[in-house]
Symmetry: C2
Subunit: 151 residues, 2 copies
């Protein structure tokens, strides 16, 4: 990957982090920020992922979503296996600069590795006591994960 | 806080976690799941927070948002200081059950401790090299944090 000038500043005071115009991400002990991914069209939350320094820099540079896979401990261009890439329409950072929100155009049938549009396909009923029974919502499988991730 | 029957099951196989109807949250090493909070009306992401076992159980039981503050290391009923409580309209859990999405009705002027509607009031411009200059969007302060958090 070509060396690029860093888009990041070092986090300063709380005032600077919250009210400033410098991008000074506060990566956690594992070097990650949380990333919320919403569908630019529907507004639905598609997934929650993580970005390390390199993934965040690559996303900013390319306008395509890159993440860091905690399970594989590897930089990951979303869609590199499935073809389901995400074009970032807008990126926002939160007050304390430890979370990022990207609105994306999702290529292909879905964002979730289970074959669904969104990873959030089950609702948790509220106000009931005892063990919870999840309710499937928008849970149709739109692609066959076995076929898509075979490569 | 009154003892209540647990809403949680223990995580089983990947198949059970992803395709099952049991709520089996996969809390991380710090005992937390990530929680994305969106405005039920506008769809905007208001904040990203964390829930421990007790915060998640309280949210499910009461239909009001409870979180765990990592900085204060304390259970936290959203709005307990500011009055800006959040009524949860819908809760979803993601494929691997380590992230929750709540759609809320936000009481008061905003969710962010800086006085804004959303914590995500700055955009990160994409496709540019070098240091990034954040752009304020929807960044108007709707309440005075000093007055609201004085109590």
């Amino acid at each position: 990957m070509a060396e690029q000038p860093s888009p990041f500043s070092n986090p300063g005071s709380t005032q600077e982090v919250e009210e400033g115009r410098a991008l000074a991400p506060r990566f956690d002990a594992d070097g990650l920020v949380t990333c919320v991914v919403t569908d630019a069209r529907s507004g639905d939350v598609l997934m929650v992922a993580h970005m390390n320094r390199e993934a965040l820099a690559q996303t900013i540079a390319t306008g395509e979503a890159w993440y860091f896979s905690r399970s594989r401990q590897a930089l990951w261009r979303k869609g590199e296996s499935s073809g389901h890439v995400q074009r970032v329409v807008e990126m926002r950072i939160d007050c304390d600069q430890d979370a990022v929100w990207v609105k994306v155009e999702q290529a292909g049938a879905g964002a979730c590795h289970t074959g669904r549009r969104s990873c959030f396909y089950r609702a948790v009923p509220l106000g009931k006591a005892g063990a919870v029974t999840l309710e499937f919502r928008d849970g149709d499988k739109l692609f066959d994960p076995k076929a898509v991730y075979k490569k």
